[in-house]
């Protein structure tokens, strides 16, 4: 060997408990030109593997503690250790060891005593073939990337999108959920290429790609079809078409808002807008190419409508979404302008008026009264329920305080509905305490009505909040018991005062034996837990008689009184 031969290179880790092998391997390989580190046991080898990052490991078999096979297996199981060549050094007479070596993941073996002059060539060969293997693997990954990913943006390309779309359609046909395609085209992109140059156009496309990925969930796909055309595929939306349309529209709006933010292209601030076309899919009803064409057509409608907007392929979905958007806009305004008022529905027990439930009503300036069923779900979805719920609580408590001065009303309770969102706010307890304080309402007369959906998560925290309020005298009832996910074990631990039998059971209590037995069960359950029970939606005397016969003596419903304005309710109370 001479100095001008630089054929040996790479990092070698030698693992052997025999000092003679360590000295000889170290000297032989280092003189040859390798960078060598030696250790005398398996654990040290594993510990050193990450930091030294060897190109090859020479591993003795029989070592005290962890033997060579175990060491080999351990290294193979690490992310970086899967491909490193491992050369096992073993006794010539030991065929068993050789078999075991390959089984534990060794690349090759040498027999002892080792031919030191030959060893560097063997080691170099293994390093080279190991590197070639890793390079080949990388090349294969690169080929895959080229085939399925867009080179400019790194996003999935058309081929991968079609593949994911096929999978999503198949999944949708199994679970019934809707999916959606958003076809996104940048407005006036050609002008950027023409005026600022293709480099700047490419930069813009890269930034658009990055922003798009922030608008979707992990399971969704953002792809670039080519040019300035992108497609976002949403999977696992609602099983209800209208709800799925709303979900998609929210993403569409988010994309528009995100892509409307100014871009900084090499120091130049640039503005751009997208036009988006949406089509929904469910199962395998439509061909993939048809879906893409639908989304494309819808995108052109967005362009025609003045760009920077979203259009659905299905005009009916368009209407649904537009109505929802209009309602949301109005609701926001309504919360600001307080276009709401409260009705009070009487609660009767043993023939006496005991209180009322406060029910929110929306007086829309153009459309008149809007049903709570139409706006409460939207308020929940948009979290407008938080300011709205707060307003309801304040108004009801103020009313309680006013009635406190009236001899015939000072004992009447007021029940206020509290949504799960509202109750889960970190400062909900403080809000209630503050409202009680500022209005001067008697906490003993305030009943908060919770819904079962609240009990889906974090029950401990809920119980804690209830206990704090209960200590101040506030009462609790569970509003729609039996309709959802009520667990009896929770029920036992919640500091409730009352269960309400949902009107869906009361309605058919005389004709449907199932509803009758559910009503009876709730009554029996309430009694055994020491809770009060109120039936909601009592419309006839017969229903009242049945419930009374089953042991329920507190009611609410049209049979006694419909929800009334403050004045009418006051009149009712005076008559009582």
């Amino acid at each position: 060997m001479s100095n001008e031969q630089k054929e040996f290179f790479g990092k070698v880790l030698v693992v052997d408990d025999d000092f003679a092998v360590r000295i000889l391997a170290h000297e032989t390989l280092e003189q040859a030109g390798f960078e060598v580190t030696v250790v005398d046991n398996g654990l040290d080898a594993i510990a050193l593997f990450d930091t030294f990052n060897p190109d090859i490991i020479l591993l003795d078999v029989m070592m005290p503690g962890m033997d060579g096979f175990q060491t080999c297996q351990e290294i193979r199981s690490t992310p970086d250790g899967a491909d490193v060549p491992i050369l096992i050094m073993t006794g010539l007479d030991d065929l068993e060891s050789i078999t075991a070596a390959y089984r534990s993941g060794a690349t090759d073996f040498v027999t002892k005593p080792i031919q030191w002059l030959v060893l560097p060539y063997r080691v170099q060969y293994l390093i080279r073939s190991g590197m070639a293997y890793i390079e080949r693997k990388r090349a294969e990954e690169r080929i895959k990337e080229l085939a399925f990913f867009d080179q400019l943006t790194g996003l999935p390309n058309r081929i991968l999108l079609l593949d994911r779309l096929t999978q999503a359609m198949t999944a949708s046909s199994r679970n019934g959920s809707y999916g959606a395609l958003l076809f996104i085209d940048l407005d006036n992109f050609k002008t950027i290429n023409d005026t600022l140059g293709h480099d700047m156009g490419d930069l813009l496309l890269q930034q658009v790609a990055e922003r798009l990925t922030t608008c979707v969930r992990a399971g969704d796909t953002t792809a670039r079809l080519g040019g300035d055309e992108f497609v976002v595929m949403l999977a696992n939306l609602s099983t209800d078409e209208r709800a799925a349309a709303s979900q998609t529209e929210i993403v569409g709006d988010k994309v528009i808002a995100t892509l409307n933010q100014p871009y900084l292209l090499r120091g130049i601030t640039h503005h751009n807008t997208p036009s988006i076309g949406i089509t929904l899919f469910n199962g395998l009803q439509a061909e993939i190419e048809v879906l893409l064409r639908q989304a494309d057509i819808a995108m052109y409608r967005s362009k025609e409508a003045g760009r920077n907007t979203v259009r659905f392929f299905d005009p009916e979905m368009e209407t649904v979404v537009m109505e929802r958007a209009a309602l949301e806009k109005d609701l926001r305004k309504a919360v600001q302008e307080r276009q709401f008022f409260l009705n009070y529905q009487a609660q009767i027990a043993d023939g006496h008026l005991t209180g009322s439930e406060a029910l929110v009503r929306w007086q829309h300036p153009q459309r008149g009264l809007i049903s709570p069923a139409a706006f409460i779900p939207l308020a929940e979805e948009t979290r407008l329920i938080l300011p709205l719920g707060r307003w309801v609580l304040e108004t009801a408590c103020a009313q309680l305080a006013k009635w406190a001065d009236r001899p015939k009303m000072s004992h009447l309770t007021v029940a206020v509905n509290v949504s799960a969102h509202q109750f889960r706010q970190a400062d909900f307890v403080d809000q209630v305490v503050e409202v009680l304080h500022t209005t001067g309402a008697n906490p003993q007369l305030l009943k908060l009505e919770l819904t079962e959906s609240l009990l889906l998560s974090n029950v401990e925290e809920i119980i804690e909040k209830m206990l704090v309020l209960k200590a101040r005298g506030v009462g609790f009832s569970l509003d729609d018991f039996g309709t959802g996910y009520s667990s009896l074990s929770y029920l036992k631990r919640l500091p409730l005062d009352q269960l309400k039998i949902d009107q869906s059971f009361v309605r058919d209590v005389l004709v449907d034996p199932n509803d009758a037995s559910i009503a009876k069960t709730v009554i029996a359950l309430a009694r055994s837990l020491g809770l009060g029970v109120t039936a909601v939606g009592v419309e006839t005397e017969a229903q009242q008689d049945f419930l009374a016969g089953s042991g329920c003596h507190a009611y609410q419903g049209f049979f006694f009184s419909r929800p009334l304005s403050v004045e009418s309710f006051e009149a009712l109370a005076m008559r009582a």
Partner: protein, 141 residues
């Protein structure tokens, strides 16, 4: 690389077979770089300071009838001895290793006595082979 060829004396060239096969250590002369610590010296010094201790451990293992300990000590001695060319002693170690492995220690004391005398011969041969002026760096492994 300038090969620092050392004419190796071959001590122990009597009637009986050599305790050390010097060809192994001669190979090291090819690897030795001028001005670098002597590999041969490093190796021999390490051998002289390590192996007698291992043989003591083997003796204790035989006395306490601990087959596993005998196997482990004998394996280490065998490996190091074969590596530097102490073939005779190395083979005896291999036999001791087998006895330890099968935990049949009846013949072990006799074999151990043979090993002791072979290691004595090996160590004296190696000590003779160390040239007195080779006082430079003994690597510690």
């Amino acid at each position: 690389m300038v090969v620092n060829i050392r004419t190796t004396d071959t001590p122990g060239s009597g009637g009986q077979p050599d305790a050390v096969d010097w060809s192994v250590l001669e190979t090291l002369n090819v690897l030795q770089k001028a001005g670098k610590p002597s590999i041969r010296r490093t190796l021999i010094t390490a051998y002289l300071t390590t192996v007698p201790g291992l043989l003591e451990r083997a003796g204790t293992a035989v006395n306490t009838a601990d087959g596993a300990a005998l196997r482990s000590a004998a394996h280490s001695m065998k490996s190091s001895s074969m590596a530097i060319g102490a073939v005779l002693f190395g083979r005896t170690c291999a036999e001791l290793e087998l006895l330890g492995k099968s935990n049949t220690l009846e013949d072990a004391p006799a074999l151990l006595r043979r090993a002791e005398s072979e290691l004595d011969a090996t160590c004296s041969a190696l000590r003779e082979a160390l040239e007195p002026d080779e006082s430079d760096g003994v690597c510690s492994f």
